[in-house]
Symmetry: C2
Subunit: 95 residues, 2 copies
């Protein structure tokens, strides 16, 4: 069963543009990851500090390989002190 991910990332108040660019940069290589079925960065219309990465992966294995990739690890390290919080929720894709 495919796996859906909704990752909500809140930028520090003075880091919004930096966080946006860092997240944008990880989208192209992530879309090339094997088993990536959907990977899109969005911003909450009511809060410019809140970004949501919406993802769909063929299976757990594909997601795990993505999380171990250089581009993902590089992004996580870069964002470390620039975000207020990050929440990742997993979903079973039913359709």
């Amino acid at each position: 069963m495919a796996l859906g991910i909704i990752a909500t990332i809140e930028a520090q108040p003075d880091q919004i543009e930096f966080v946006e660019q860092t997240l944008k940069d990880v989208v192209p290589p992530s879309r090339q990851d094997e088993g990536c079925e959907y990977y899109t960065l969005t911003r909450d219309r009511e809060n410019e500090r809140v970004f949501v990465m919406v993802e769909q992966w063929r299976d757990r294995e594909a997601l795990d390989a993505h999380l171990a990739s250089e581009h993902y690890k590089q992004m996580a390290m870069t964002l470390e002190n620039r975000i207020a919080q990050m929440a990742v929720r997993e979903y079973d894709v039913l359709t």
Copy 2:
């Protein structure tokens, strides 16, 4: 700019299967709606009562046409007394 929608629907405890099927039924016709770029039903892995419809629309106009469609209105009416709550958040698609 494309529009992202994350609609979180919590089924009444005794209506989970009915709500799941009703939501599944609206996916095929919604994917045919003009300007629909992504439309997928998922279930929260930690709470079987919680479904999340993840959507992406070319623009506001496409979303409004969907909300006025027979299949959407039929679904909304059918679910009325069978869900505990529904929250719809809008996002600007950045990539």
